[in-house]
């Protein structure tokens, strides 16, 4: 009691330890675990980061099925800044996925929406901060669908390709056969084989 009394009086006469933030800056220390930045050109789309991210703050949405273009989306408000994605990224050393020391501004009025292209893939699509959460939900569903769609698309494409190939082969074979027939007159040898192969591959692929 008495000691604290003296300490109180002493504190009264000395300068407070309060830092002046936000009027004076208070920078994060080196290697502070801040926002994740992404460089699309370096990415090899291995999906490892999406896989490891505990809250699912990184998502890839397939935007173009034909060309297999995936778009990286990152939700900095869901991210727990755990650094796991950077650890796992094979291209992290080159700067594909970097954890910055700076942190994001809080999301409040619309003007303060972060518009940084590099990180705000998701945020850019949001017009009002309200319902950001539910939008992310929708977005998650969409990503899921797109992934499924992409898988289907891929399988479909493969099957088609295979079919085409098979047809082509068949055609070729026919031509060849004709030629051969013309040459050797042996028709019944290789008619059903290519088709069976296509079926098998079509069954296997989407399962992966």
């Amino acid at each position: 009691m008495v000691k604290m009394f003296i300490e109180s009086l002493k504190n009264l006469t000395t300068k407070p330890v309060t830092i002046g933030y936000p009027h004076t800056p208070s920078p994060s220390p080196k290697d502070y675990r801040g926002t994740i930045y992404y460089q699309e050109d370096l990415c090899i789309f291995c999906d490892l980061c999406e896989d490891v991210c505990p809250p699912g703050a990184i998502l890839f949405e397939v935007t173009n099925f034909e060309e297999n273009i995936r778009e990286y989306s990152y939700n900095p408000y869901l991210c727990i800044y755990c650094h796991a994605c950077v650890d796992v990224c094979p291209k992290a050393d080159e700067g594909c996925l970097v954890q910055a020391e700076t942190r994001l501004k809080p999301l409040g009025r619309e003007e303060t929406l972060p518009k940084d292209i590099k990180l705000g893939y998701f945020m850019d699509r949001v017009t009002t901060p309200k319902h950001l959460d539910s939008q992310w939900d929708e977005f998650e569903d969409r990503c899921e669908e797109s992934r499924e769609g992409h898988d289907e698309f891929k399988a479909e494409k493969k099957r088609k390709k295979k079919e085409e190939m098979a047809a082509k082969k068949k055609l070729e074979a026919e031509v060849k056969a004709k030629e051969d027939a013309a040459l050797e007159n042996d028709v019944s040898k290789s008619e059903n084989n290519p088709e069976e192969k296509v079926d098998e591959t079509a069954k296997d692929k989407p399962k992966e």
Binding site: M1, K3, E7, P29, D31, R33, C53, P54, C82
Partner: protein, 361 residues
């Protein structure tokens, strides 16, 4: 009826930041009955650890079982996984882990004591505790990149190394902290009104502590020589000068004092570890998927944290069981209230430093 006053204490109450509710029935402020609800924070982490998360990112989830001992939860899990994977860590890793664990203990203990002072109506003491605690959190922020959620443990190692400047900074700050903690301890020790409020209040006797299998500073304040650091070799504590701290009073005040003694011991350990840091890699390569089961005990700031881990050779764990210190201390806490004053109830609760977020998981 009539003279009974039912006081709800929580779930939203200024004295306990966590949601937990005590329903006290009081007569002239004396508590005659108490109901406890500790289930507000139940999120289903044990299930999530065996469904949603793969074994190599479960530690991020477990770190968020509780912010105060994020390091111990992740640590316990990783010790277990390393055992299942057969990874042998080197000394440097152990030392680095130890430093962060002990720093975590320091900041946690200082805040816990400060909070006891706060609910005793001793705002200034709380402020002083928080003021000095900043040293520990600043160190932690510098070496792990966050003030609370360190995510420092990784399977086979730690996420960052200590540089020379870090070591220098830690050394300076810890020495400063040591002086300040001694000063703070002196305040707690000699303050008359604080003593009135805390001495002889909420006493857990040695017998009670034993019978209820209490853990952590509650057990040690009652004279029970019980510390996972002493009983389980998860980190090289003996090398760095660990000493078991006990008191015999068992009251609120003794719990604060034990925490201060532990903080000082932790500072000494950290200083030693920082200055005698062995050389080596900070990460050992690990391979394979965990298979088998193991039991892990580690000492979290609040006491012993126990993990049971079972893997089945896949990416997903088979079972993760968490038993946390508060979980062990809740039964004795419930017994303490009846017969004490309502005005002391807050101090009793906070002196247990209850962590509902790990109790309910």
């Amino acid at each position: 009826m009539g003279n009974k006053i039912t006081v709800t204490f929580g779930s939203q109450h200024i004295a306990i930041p966590e949601p937990v509710s005590f329903v006290f029935e009081t007569e002239n402020e004396m508590i005659t009955k108490v109901d406890v609800d500790v289930g507000y924070v139940h999120r289903g982490i044990e299930q999530a650890a065996v469904t949603k998360f793969k074994f190599n990112n479960v530690q991020f989830l477990l770190a968020r079982v509780c912010g105060f001992c994020s390091i111990t939860h992740a640590g316990a899990y990783i010790h277990g996984v390393e055992k299942l994977l057969g990874v042998e860590t080197n000394k440097r890793i152990d030392y680095l882990r130890l430093i962060v664990t002990e720093l975590d203990r320091m900041h946690s203990h200082l805040l816990a004591n400060g909070h006891v002072a706060e609910v005793c109506g001793y705002e200034n003491l709380f402020m002083q505790s928080v003021k000095y605690r900043e040293n520990a959190t600043e160190i932690l922020e510098a070496i792990t990149g966050n003030r609370v959620q360190y995510d420092y443990y990784q399977i086979g190692g730690v996420s960052r190394d200590l540089s020379a400047e870090h070591i220098e900074m830690i050394d300076v700050k810890l020495k400063e902290l040591r002086v300040n903690v001694l000063k703070l301890r002196d305040f707690f020790d000699t303050d008359y009104t604080f003593g009135l409020k805390t001495k002889g209040v909420g006493t857990v006797t040695y017998e009670m502590a034993k019978a209820y299998n209490t853990a952590g500073s509650i057990a040690r304040a009652s004279g029970l020589r019980m510390d996972a650091r002493n009983e389980f070799d998860f980190l090289p504590y003996e090398e760095v000068g660990y000493k078991l701290q006990t008191r015999t009073e068992g009251d609120v005040w003794a719990r604060c004092m034990v925490r201060f003694d532990e903080v000082i011991n932790s500072i000494d350990m950290c200083l030693y570890a920082v200055n005698n840091l062995p050389e080596g890699e900070i990460k050992v390569k690990s391979k394979g998927k965990p298979k088998g089961e193991t039991f892990i005990r580690v000492e979290a700031p609040r006491g012993e944290c126990f993990y049971y881990i079972k893997g089945n050779g896949t990416k997903i764990m088979e079972r993760v069981r968490i038993r946390v210190p508060t979980y062990a201390n809740i039964p004795v806490l419930r017994e303490l209230f009846v017969g004490s004053q309502y005005s002391d109830a807050q101090a009793i609760v906070l002196s247990f430093d209850p962590c509902l977020s790990c109790t309910a998981r």
